[in-house]
């Protein structure tokens, strides 16, 4: 099906005249182009000092709304990495009846940030926040319990 156009090595690099070679025309052209860029506005962001905001659709650190979770285990089941662990209990707490989560752990060091748990949750209790700064000194600190998941983890913002 495929045709071989030619298999003889030749060169399609542009031919240059002696004068072009001697005067380094192509080099000067490139230099001129890069020189023009010196006067254009910069596109870089000085990260710790300036922070980029992400799109609301971005899948950042996971959060769980403790008051709405009905401990249905769907997120635990769908998670491809098995990094969600939770346990539920039936009872009346916090002014509502039915099932609620007694403990809830997400290991962010193993999480794929795939968004499947967010998708299956019937009450939109688990969701991806827009936080992306998840670096920790200890692996244990990457495991967030229900309290951290509900209120958000501590991010130290760099001040100028």
């Amino acid at each position: 099906m495929s045709t071989i156009v030619s298999s003889a090595p030749s060169s399609s690099a542009p031919e240059k005249t002696f004068l072009e070679r001697f005067l380094l025309v192509e080099l000067l052209k490139g230099m001129w182009l890069t020189l023009k860029y010196t006067f254009r506005p910069k596109v870089t962001v000085q990260y710790p000092l300036e922070r980029e905001s992400v799109h609301p659709n971005y899948r950042g650190i996971l959060r769980v709304d403790e008051s709405t979770c009905i401990a249905c285990y769907l997120c635990e089941k769908i998670c491809p990495d098995k990094c969600i662990h939770l346990e539920g209990e039936r009872g009346y707490t916090k002014g509502k009846g039915g099932k609620y989560a007694t403990y809830f752990y997400i290991d962010h060091a193993r999480c794929l940030f795939c968004g499947l748990c967010e998708e299956v949750c019937p009450v939109d209790s688990i969701y991806h926040s827009n936080e992306y700064e998840a670096a920790v000194y200890n692996r244990v600190d990457a495991v967030h319990d229900l309290q951290i998941l509900d209120s958000g983890h501590n991010i130290i913002h760099y001040e100028r």
Partner: protein, 366 residues
């Protein structure tokens, strides 16, 4: 007479220009390479085996992690294989949205290839310019798919969520300015004498050899073989858009460079056409919530990823998990060419050869 003997030099696994964890054992005579042994597997994560223990939806995020520079293309290959397996229909809107997204990912992947390849050879400006444009594309991914690199973009039947407002216009605007950027790169590189000295005649592999080794993608088209799966075995609506397949017959690194530069322009054209053709409607598709495929039903689906022929071979297992998932990774097959391409060249050219193959080690080892 001084006695000379063959010298073995270890390159990698932590070498900056092996683009990941690849180890090469070079057999040298002076500075000339006699033979190359490729040692790989440092990044093996057992993706194929993992896929046999998770259901069809859970496997999508794993496919991101194989070729992470063009994750949407891996998602497409896997998801279309599942659709083939189950016979699911894709809505027209999802079809064209997918086409636009994967072609954007081809541009992003080629940009990063150019950035690193040129950096290896010594042209530092390219790194900054290419990542600048790539950043724009990654922002599009972030808005539409939810992540920048490991997108988990698609699911069997369509996309996971609809495109955000204003996304199409932003992409079209990028497409209108992008060809001018490619021209800028070419001003810097095409006639640059260092670039020419380092790439022309380096890493030569003839069309016949390329076919015999099972190479694909730009590696094949840079050797004068007119073969593009988007034309030969159209999938995902590619038969409805108009684009050219660049083929250069010189078989060297320079001609593969020209192929990829032209492909970026053609991809821009495809994105524009796909977004123009995209109708309104439902994007999430009709596949069931729990996909079950009967035992022994099998499907093989190939797509033309930025690196070449990417294939997913799936066998149904009777339950909601596949019995077998085999990935035909383009980087893995293209990597075979390192030996023949390096023979007789200098050590410095090995860096060019690795760059021109455009390997992603996540894809090689899976």
């Amino acid at each position: 007479m001084l006695e000379t003997k063959e010298f073995e030099l270890n390159m990698g696994p932590q070498h900056p220009s092996t683009h990941g964890v690849l180890r090469l054992v070079l057999h040298l005579d002076g500075e000339t390479v006699l033979d190359v042994d490729t040692v790989m597997g440092y990044l093996h994560r057992g993706t194929e085996k993992l896929c046999e223990t998770r259901n069809y939806y859970q496997n999508v995020p794993f496919t991101d992690r194989t070729d992470y520079l063009a994750a949407p293309y891996n998602n497409l290959g896997y998801v279309e294989a599942v659709e083939k397996l189950g016979g699911y229909q894709v809505s027209e809107r999802a079809l064209y949205a997918r086409m636009a997204i994967v072609e954007l990912s081809r541009i992003a992947s080629h940009l990063f290839w150019l950035a690193t390849h040129a950096l290896d050879i010594g042209a530092q400006t390219m790194l900054f310019w290419c990542t600048r444009e790539r950043e724009v594309i990654l922002d599009f991914f972030e808005a539409a798919l939810g992540d920048r690199l490991t997108t988990s973009a698609f699911k069997p039947g369509g996309l996971r969520r609809d495109l955000p407002e204003g996304w199409v216009e932003a992409v079209l605007e990028f497409c209108s300015t992008f060809p001018a950027r490619v021209e800028e790169y070419e001003t810097l590189l095409n006639a640059n004498r260092i670039w020419i000295e380092r790439t022309v005649g380096v890493g030569v592999i003839s069309g016949e050899d390329a076919i015999a080794l099972g190479l694909s993608g730009p590696m094949l088209r840079g050797s004068g073989v007119d073969h593009d799966l988007r034309k030969v075995l159209p999938y995902g609506g590619y038969e409805t858009v108009d684009f050219d397949v660049p083929v250069y017959p010189d078989c060297d690194s320079y001609s593969r460079y020209l192929v990829r530069m032209e492909e970026m322009r053609q991809s821009t054209r495809i994105v524009q056409q796909a977004l123009a053709k995209m109708p309104e409607g439902k994007i999430t598709g009709k596949a069931p919530k729990m996909i079950k495929i009967a035992e022994g039903v099998e499907a093989y689906h190939v797509v033309e990823s930025p690196r070449g022929e990417l294939g997913y071979y799936l066998i149904g297992g009777g339950k909601d998990i596949p019995y077998k998932c085999k990935i035909r990774a383009p980087s893995f097959c293209n990597l075979q060419a390192v030996g023949p391409m390096c023979k007789g060249h200098l050590i410095a050219d090995v860096v060019t050869v690795i760059g021109t193959i455009d390997i992603v080690l996540g894809d090689v080892d899976r």
